[in-house]
């Protein structure tokens, strides 16, 4: 069975495919468990991303940003044209993939930037600019964060740690004691 392309599946999840393709993808999903599961993962990820990307950063004017991105693409295209050799067989056709790729890159960068900047801070901690990797610990466990994103965390298991600790060299540890065996397990994450 030929599966739906990843890109199309992602676009379908957010309702960004044409009506005809939407029907075709829906038909495929009805008979393909793998793609259906994949689509559900996209949906879960999309909801998670939306929950943190819902609000634009304070003071951000989307229209201005959009115009700036468009302008940047145009400037890039114009600059490319200035330095490009004059004698080309089909210059008009060759710009299309370049423009699409440039747009994708800008949109991807903007999307990642918006997402990375707006992940929630830990409750109670100051919302300062977190560009450097940092370790965070509280009674729930330990976490390594960079660009506001969780990069590594110890404490995915059941129960809360009995103790957490961190060193100024960038190591954080969480200590767990098994309820049945009393065995102590210490999980660590490292900034460096």
């Amino acid at each position: 069975m030929k599966h739906v392309a990843e890109t199309e599946l992602a676009l379908y999840t957010s309702g960004d495919v044409s009506l005809w393709r939407r029907a075709a993808v829906r038909l495929h999903l009805s008979g393909c468990e793998a793609c259906r599961a994949r689509m559900q993962e996209y949906r879960a990820d999309q909801q998670a991303l939306r929950s943190v990307a819902e609000d634009l950063p304070e003071g951000l004017d989307w229209d201005a940003l959009s115009a700036e991105m468009t302008a940047n693409i145009r400037v890039g295209l114009a600059a490319g044209e200035c330095v490009a050799p004059r004698q080309r067989a089909t210059p008009q056709r060759s710009w299309l993939p370049v423009a699409v790729a440039a747009g994708m890159v800008v949109l991807l960068a903007a999307g990642l930037s918006l997402n990375l900047q707006r992940r929630a801070q830990a409750p109670g901690l100051t919302a300062v600019e977190d560009r450097s990797p940092l370790v965070q610990m509280n009674e729930s466990g330990i976490e390594l964060r960079a660009n506001g994103n969780s990069m590594g965390v110890s404490g995915a298991g059941p129960g809360r740690p009995v103790a957490v600790s961190a060193s100024m060299q960038g190591t954080a540890r969480a200590r767990y004691v098994d309820d049945d065996t009393a065995q102590v397990t210490i999980t660590s994450v490292y900034v460096q």
Partner: protein, 361 residues
């Protein structure tokens, strides 16, 4: 929605970069490893999100050496060179006889590798500590140091509890356990962030001096400690240390305690330092890092104490229980992993179970 188009594109791009959801994993042990893998269970480990791996691993291992194993550290690697790509699982306070099996379980989230092929995780051995304090392993994570300190603390605490049992009987031991459980419940734990490198707070703050808790038998004397406090952030702690002992020192750790405006104390972090400190010599311990506390926290004072010292010959010093008790540190500092284990045994099996456990060592 304006981000409506960005989100699927980002998702699609990430997905295209990372093909497949199945978590490839392997357990790598050296040929002459003192432990052998009997079985591994990865449960529902997998790539849960675009950037994250959920790992739930349980390994069954056998002691194939001729000595008792008292601790083990395993490295868990998703990406070797990236922050968040690596973690470790340590099990201290073991007592595994040669030929016996034991289990190591761990739950971690790690940064998911982006590249060709599916996500892959490798578990490897960083070190094994034996009952004679000898060590086997590459020690890339300095686990020899951590596990040796945990083991020395375990011996110190078991000796104390056994002595208490002899002098004060089961009632005395039981009272000590109940006190330990109370301290465990009462110990404050704030949310803390530690940032390496530059500080992000624009407030220049003020310099605040450390007070040091002098532990009588400590081989190192700390002094002249300062740090800069700016709103809820404490930056760049630095202090002088002098080697009071007759042996050269190569590593030490200072415990750093802060007190907030409500008078609550907590261990903010440890200040480890690699140094070459000859007998009688002094050196500066400096950390280019900041500690952030929850908003609204106003740090009133700071204190420090020497929590461990490693001599150049590989031997260690740790504070005695008497010193910890006299300086009131036990109220603030977490107990040793062994004391946590014994407290759990007491909770589960009562005083009789605890006494039986102490007899095993």
């Amino acid at each position: 929605m304006k981000t409506k188009f960005i989100i699927p594109v980002v998702l699609a791009a990430v997905t295209m970069m990372v093909s497949g959801q199945t978590l490839a994993h392997k357990v790598s042990l050296p040929k002459d490893s003192p432990v052998a893998l009997i079985a591994d269970d990865w449960g529902d480990s997998g790539a849960s999100r675009a950037f994250a791996l959920d790992l739930h691993v349980a390994l069954s291992l056998r002691n194939t050496s001729s000595r008792r194993i008292h601790g083990i550290t395993l490295t868990v690697t998703a990406q070797e060179m990236t922050a968040g790509g690596k973690g470790s699982i340590s099990v201290p306070s073991l007592n595994v006889a040669p030929g016996d099996n034991f289990s190591v379980r761990g739950d971690l989230h790690l940064l998911r590798p982006l590249g060709t092929g599916g996500p892959q995780v490798e578990v490897s051995l960083d070190g094994v500590l034996f009952d004679d304090l000898s060590f086997y392993g590459p020690d890339k994570l300095h686990s020899r140091r951590s596990m040796t300190v945990w083991e020395l603390e375990a011996r110190r605490d078991r000796k104390y509890f056994k002595s208490l049992l002899e002098t004060a009987g089961r009632d005395g031991l039981q009272k000590e356990m109940l006190d330990g459980l109370t301290r465990q419940a009462d110990r404050p734990q704030f949310g803390v962030q530690i940032v390496r490198g530059r500080a992000t707070n624009n407030d220049p703050g003020r310099e605040v001096q450390f007070a040091f808790l002098q532990l009588p038998d400590a081989p190192v004397e700390p002094s002249d400690g300062m740090a800069r406090i700016a709103s809820n952030e404490v930056r760049a702690p630095r202090l002088q240390v002098r080697n009071k002992s007759a042996r050269p020192i190569r590593h030490l750790e200072i415990g750093w305690i802060v007190k907030d405006q409500r008078g609550q104390e907590m261990v903010a972090a440890s200040l480890p330092s690699d140094l070459a400190l000859a007998p009688g010599a002094s050196s500066q311990v400096l950390q280019d890092a900041s500690v952030r506390f929850p908003q609204g926290t106003a740090i009133q004072s700071m204190s420090g104490f020497v929590s461990s010292v490693e001599f150049a010959d590989g031997s260690f010093w740790i504070p005695s229980r008497t010193a910890l008790g006299a300086s009131n540190l036990r109220r603030v500092v977490a107990p040793s992993p062994e004391e946590e284990r014994l407290l759990k045994i007491y909770q589960k099996k009562g005083i009789a179970g605890l006494v039986e456990e102490l007899k095993k060592f």
